[in-house]
Amino acid sequence: MECYIGVDLGSTTTKAIYIDENEKVLGRGITNSRSNYELACEIAADEAAINSRFHMLRRKLAENKQAGKQTSELMDWLTCKFKLAQHFRQVDALEKVCKTIVDEWDDKNLRRAYKAALDSIFDTMRSEAEPMFQPRVTARSDFFRDIASSHYLDSAELLARNGDISFDRLTGIFDKAILLVEAESFATAYDDYLDFASAETIKVDGYKVLRDDIRRATEYAATIEFNAINTIGTGYGRQTLPFPKHQIRSEILCHGLGAHIMFPATRTVLDIGGQDTKAIQVDGKGIVTNFQMNDRCAAGCGRYLGYIADEMSMGVHELGPLAMTASKTIRINSTCTVFAGAELRERLALGEKREDILSGLHRAIVIRSMSLLARSGGVRNEFTFTGGVAKNEAATDALKMLIVENYGEMTINVSPDSIYTGALGAALFAKRDQKGDLVNVDLKKLRKRVS
């Protein structure tokens, strides 16, 4: 089927979106950007393609009389099992690479000891996998690296505690191996995973009778051919893409259009990402009429939260929830990243509570973006908040409060899919702006071409 692809190469994550000729979203994919943008781009697009297949799979299932009634439950099972199959494949690959590394050692005894250790680690890893990929189980992370590293390191720690095995040595193996595994896309074997998913789902109580419907639907999903008519790249790393110039759009334009598609009445967009903050004004068609970005100072963007998290020895995702428990909001004057640490320590030394300080820090960031918004022409109804920081409830709350205080009541949109705003805009441009000689960018070949 014909489709259009938008790819957003962000500084921390890379996103891809497939849309059909009616501008409806088929699928989304995301991966961490790594140091290799081309690879990130390929993997995100592969993920988006799989996501698109699942989109079609759901449609197919829904067409059936019997299976149609249970589409949602079936999709949950199929998705989990698909992910499990993919996970197993990645675990296999990781094990293989780890053992190759050990094989290159000279000391025979050492080799034997560490191979045994690896056997034990990977056995545990496999046995831990199944319960993770079940319907209604929330994954700790979507990225293999995160899941694998936590399991691997937990086992490694146990082994190192009661034997001659060194934890550091095991970590070293992992660090080397994961890089190689990450450099591979595991999406290409989607038909195998679908087979596995279908077989496993049929085994689930009560689904046996739906066997034929399930099989037909998964086979259909496995055989769809996506014909990408146009691909447009955007985002921080877009300049590194070997796309012709007319297939690259600035992220400002893509964000504006993406936000307009998600919330058509949007007039003002605020995007707080890892590296920068953008305030964008759009007209009724999603065309950007004005924008402002933060200056060279990192205050007020996601990275500032990163510094704060480091300073507090916390994960960046833990900041928002902790700030939500605050009983008051401490005034923080320095949004300067350099001074924030000092101010933070001073407040702590004065006996202020962490959550109250964090609440103040979130407000401080949002105040920075308020001035960016004012520079770009203010806030107009409807207002749409996107970017990684939009997932942070403390930031969103502070923002809502300040918008209402300064610009009055209005509709404030925050979408759970807001991380895909840029990619969505790019996909829309791919559909609408087909000019010049379109180059069918083969994302898979990107890496080879570049290397």
Binding site: R331, S334, A342, I367, R368, M370, A374
Partner: protein, 386 residues
């Protein structure tokens, strides 16, 4: 009044960004109020026009800057942001005009911004001469003052003649004398006049009608004589490096608590900008101009022609037996920060110890500064040098 009551009154004035005193004064007197930015404006003319001069020195560290930041890049100092914030939040609505003295490019440009953003208000840029020849710069400045007088006559519907001007000059001379006494007492016995208190009294001079302020200072001087305050083993320092954006109160406290007696400073400098009485006579405008041309204090926004750089500071160090100098300048303040190395060189040549830091009017932490000035104080106490 007791010292604590006077200080409480000043604290209240300092922290009232809504300028209730000004509103109340206007209501009572049915007269206008004219604001001015640092350092200095000839307040006598405003006063003679029956108006209340109101010094605006940013918003300190208490106001959250939301709109003001939208007008300034990150590399520009803080005071214009907070001033715009004050304006846009209606806190300066009670001022019928605002004067912008010629002290730097940022405040200069702010005058034009004010013309656009507050088009219904009287805005005047006070172009101070940098030519200190009476018949050239003096004449130019006298014309500037005359222009201000004429504008205020129009605004206030009240003639401002020689008598009115002389009356105001007398009152401001009296105020200058009280302030001089206050500074003299602090440098003689700094433990009796904590700088925190002195500073708040000085800030009150921005708001209070001049004679009310003079009385307040006099009352403080008499009240503080009755207080028993203990002398500590602190060093005597001069703090310099500011003419416009002010340090937050917490910073002043931190300096005092780090083992330093501040015996001179250049905060709220406008209230003591001309270091002797303005002459009372037939041509008060000319007298004000001459005061500025001939007897203005040295600060980094003024061109110093004849004198060797740093002379003024060296003289102060000697007169006040200061043991060291602390340079405290606002971040991104070009005049103050470009002046600094020249003054430092002059101090080095005379073996006078110094230390330096930057601040913003909204600086939220003082620990590092306290550490620094504390070490400075200790090293002078121990070795007589930093």
């Amino acid at each position: 009044m007791k010292v604590s009551e006077i200080v409480a009154r000043c604290e209240e004035l300092y922290s009232d960004l809504h300028l209730s005193y000004v509103k109340e004064w206007k209501r009572r007197n049915k007269r206008k109020a004219i604001g001015y930015m640092p350092i200095y404006v000839p307040r006598q003319i405003i006063h003679a026009a029956g108006m209340l001069p109101v010094g605006i020195m940013g918003a300190g560290d208490t106001l959250e800057i939301i709109r003001g930041d939208a007008y300034y890049q990150s590399y520009i100092c803080h005071i214009p942001r907070s001033t715009i914030e004050l304006g846009l939040t209606g806190r300066l609505d009670c001022l019928d005009g605002l004067l912008f003295p010629a002290i730097c490019d940022v405040i200069r440009n702010l005058s034009g911004m004010w013309q656009l953003m507050f088009a219904d208000k009287y805005v005047k840029y006070m172009d101070f001469p940098q030519n200190f020849n009476e018949s050239i710069g003096g004449e130019f400045y006298a014309r500037e003052l005359e222009q201000l007088r004429e504008d205020l006559v129009k605004m206030g519907n009240k003639p401002v003649g020689v008598d009115e001007l002389n009356e105001s000059i007398i009152r401001y001379n009296a105020n200058a004398k009280a302030i001089k006494d206050l500074y003299a007492l602090r440098s003689d016995a700094p433990h009796r006049v904590p700088t925190y208190e002195l500073y708040l009294l000085m800030r009150a001079s921005n708001i209070l009608e001049v004679s009310e302020h003079t009385s307040l200072v006099e009352e403080y001087l008499s009240a503080v004589g009755k207080e028993d305050r203990q002398e500590l083993d602190n060093i005597r320092v001069i703090v310099t490096g500011v003419f416009c954006e002010q340090p937050p109160l917490g910073l002043i406290r931190a300096l005092e608590h780090s083992g330093c007696y501040i015996v001179d400073d250049d905060w709220v400098l406008g209230a003591r900008f001309i270091d002797r009485d303005i002459e009372v006579g037939d041509d008060p405008i000319r007298a004000l101009a001459t005061g500025y041309i001939k007897h203005g204090v040295a600060t980094s926004s003024r061109y110093i022609d004849q004198e060797e750089k740093g002379r003024h500071l060296l003289d102060r160090v000697e007169e006040l037996s200061a043991e060291g100098v602390i340079f405290a300048s606002p971040s991104f303040c070009d005049p103050a920060l470009l002046e600094r190395p020249m003054l430092q060189a002059a101090l080095s040549k005379s073996n006078i110890p110094y230390t330096s830091f930057k601040f913003g009017e909204n600086s939220g932490q003082y620990q590092v500064i306290k550490e620094q000035t504390g070490t400075f104080s200790d090293s002078i106490k121990l070795w007589g040098t930093a």
